[in-house]
């Protein structure tokens, strides 16, 4: 009989209580997996969208929000001619409520810019020119909005005709309502204003050269910021806020798990007071008793973690089908995140077991002879 068998047997004494404790800790871990997976997925999905459009560098003014703030379109002229810049395309992107969808990406692109190139028509056609009051929908956006060719989509007070449904090659692209930039500028009253410049660098440009180019852009455009595509999302205050909220919510859920495990282990120690005293009387060292309690709580954490990861994966897959999320992001559930979640659960288990373990170490073996 191994020491681990002794530990496992301790947990199996009260299977219902052990099961409920596992559920308690697993909810906290599921929250970690789901929320952190979603926030990381947000970055990954938007980065994939950039890659799909062939964007290498993004010039933006994304300080305190998820979507960049507006700056003059003419800014582009200061960098377009620089060596290493193959092409630029000005962008206006908004996250807004459209009809029944609470949040949808509206992506307006410079007419004729390279950011139209990745769009493959599935049905219909592209807008004829920048002035046509028309949009194309990414295929997921079309599903979410339940629109087909010829229907209209209302953006602010304007009704625009759906002329095409496209595959953008990435989740964010497919979840977007796409239109010519001048049209959105007119609707939003932001003529001459953009909120991003997509930059494609010449082929063969290294990562280091791209970073040098970003530094050059930043010198020439102090009112905006140039970053390698994807990094601008990760560095934005909006993303940091979402990430912090994800962890904050997760930590609250974990705190509940900690209290649950601690309660269970304290009950276990109190219930098994005489048993622990007998073990001490039989020659077990106090350190072994402490290890036994800590191992029990760590095992609770471990199995709670496994259950939590499973719950988190199921939860995320349910959540990503919700209309508010669908097309906005693909949750990123990596093996690393899952292992981290299980490791957190084990640490939570051990921390929860510290006080009960200390209590168990204070018991006196003479109680074994009483009763």
């Amino acid at each position: 009989m191994t020491f681990l068998a002794v530990v496992a047997r301790g947990l199996m004494r009260r299977p219902v209580r052990t099961g409920l404790t596992l559920v308690g800790i697993s909810i906290g871990i599921a929250a970690v997996v789901a929320l952190v997976g979603m926030s990381r997925g947000f970055v990954a999905s938007w980065t994939a969208g950039m890659k799909s459009r062939g964007v290498d560098i993004v010039v933006h003014n994304m300080r305190g929000s998820l979507t960049p703030k507006a700056f003059p379109a003419a800014t582009r002229d200061r960098i377009a001619h620089l060596p290493g810049v193959a092409a630029t395309c000005t962008i206006s992107v908004e996250l807004m409520s459209i009809e029944n969808s609470e949040m949808m990406i509206v992506s307006a692109r410079e007419w004729g810019g390279f950011s139209w190139e990745n769009l493959k028509l599935l049905s219909g056609r592209m807008p004829r020119d920048a002035s046509e009051r028309a949009v194309v929908l990414g295929r997921t956006a079309a599903e979410v909005l339940a629109k087909k060719i010829g229907d209209t989509v209302q953006i602010e007070t304007e009704e625009l005709t759906v002329v095409g449904i496209v595959d953008g090659g990435a989740l964010v692209e497919n979840g977007s309502v796409i239109l010519a930039q001048p049209l959105l500028q007119e609707i939003m009253g932001n003529q001459g204003q953009i909120n991003a410049i997509d930059v494609r660098v010449t082929s063969g440009t290294s990562e280091a050269e791209m970073r040098r180019l970003c530094e050059e852009f930043n010198r020439l455009i102090p009112e905006a910021r140039a970053q390698v595509a994807g990094e601008h999302i990760r560095d934005s205050q909006g993303y940091r806020m979402i990430n912090a909220m994800s962890w904050g919510t997760s930590l609250l859920a974990l705190l509940v798990g900690v209290l649950g495990v601690m309660n269970t282990m304290l009950m276990t120690v109190f219930e098994r007071k005489q048993e622990i005293c007998i073990l001490l009387a039989l020659g077990w060292k106090r350190s072994r008793i402490v290890r036994m309690v800590l191992w029990e709580s760590a095992l609770l954490g471990f199995f709670g973690g496994i259950l939590g990861v499973a719950l988190g994966v199921v939860g995320v897959n349910v959540m990503k089908t919700a209309p508010a999320i669908r097309g906005l992001l693909e949750p990123e559930l990596t093996v690393g995140l899952m292992l981290t979640a299980v490791a957190i659960a084990v640490v939570v288990g051990v921390i929860s077991g510290l006080y009960p373990a200390w209590r168990s170490s204070r018991l006196t073996p003479s109680l074994a002879l009483q009763g």
């Binding site: 009989m1 191994t2 020491f3 002794v6 047997r9 301790g10 199996m12 004494r13 005489q274 048993e275 007998i278 073990l279 001490l280 009387a281 039989l282 020659g283 077990w284 060292k285 106090r286 072994r288 006196t364 073996p365 003479s366 074994a368 002879l369 009763g371």
Partner: protein, 243 residues
């Protein structure tokens, strides 16, 4: 930590107590009031007396389960209260047999016997082998995989005795080992303890309030109100019988 040896202790002396006192509740309760005795290697000593006379407290002192309030207690010349590793002392030198058996309910007989062996270097397979041998020695080779709830009182106490022998102790401390058994099982358990004492030349200290059990010992220490009132051959018996 090296513990000072008592130069007066002869090699054959296992326990030596002098002025041993134990108080509880800030002196309100005096369980032991200056107890003195010597127990030699291989003795079978019965500690007798009514409830509350201090005999279980004395057993706790001998087993390093509790510390005396005053006085000295030596085990083979080493001060028991000052032992650097009391758990090691309990694990290797002492075997405990309790009145209420105190088997762990979620472990089988063979697993219960292995519990004290966790504090040894014995490999896993050897622990199980040793446990099986011990259970065979107490006549329970057919009950190895039984949980305590499936064993009779006498069988449980036999498992507990096997457990007490797990690490080959030289002293067996038994606290009312037949207190929860019917007379038939009690007789078997006493015979088993006496046989172990005789065959393994163990020092056996047995606490009881039953004079008929005390008469089986080679020596009886009678206690009253925390003091020893008699120490000698069991009274009213010509010669102690061990089997």
């Amino acid at each position: 930590m090296e513990v000072a040896a008592n130069p007066a202790t002869a090699p054959a002396c296992v326990f030596e107590a002098a002025g041993l006192r134990k108080e509880f509740d800030d002196g309100q309760v005096q369980a032991l009031r200056g107890v003195e005795f010597r127990i030699a290697e291989g003795e079978f000593v019965a500690i007798i007396g009514p409830s509350g006379c201090g005999k279980t407290t004395l057993l706790q002192m001998l087993g390093a389960l509790d510390r005396p309030s005053a006085g000295s207690l030596f085990y083979r010349g080493k001060s028991v209260p000052d032992l650097p590793d009391p758990a090691g002392y309990r694990a290797h030198e002492i075997g405990f047999v309790f009145q209420a058996f105190h088997l762990l309910p979620t472990f089988t007989a063979v697993e219960n016997v292995q519990i004290p062996m966790f504090e040894t270097d014995r490999p896993l397979a050897a622990r199980k082998e040793r446990a099986c041998e011990l259970l065979k020695a107490v006549g329970l080779e057919h009950r190895l995989a039984h949980f305590p709830a499936k064993l009779s009182g006498g069988e449980r106490q036999r498992v507990a005795i096997a457990r007490s022998l797990a690490n080959g102790p030289s002293v067996l401390l038994a606290d009312e080992p037949t207190g929860n058994l019917d007379s038939e099982n009690a007789r078997h358990i006493l015979e088993l303890l006496a046989r172990l004492h005789r065959e393994q030349h163990m020092t056996l200290v047995l606490v009881t309030h039953d004079m008929s059990i005390a008469r089986r010992a080679s020596r009886a220490i009678q206690m009253k109100d925390g003091r020893i009132v008699f120490d000698g051959a069991p009274p009213s018996l010509p010669t102690p019988t061990l089997t």
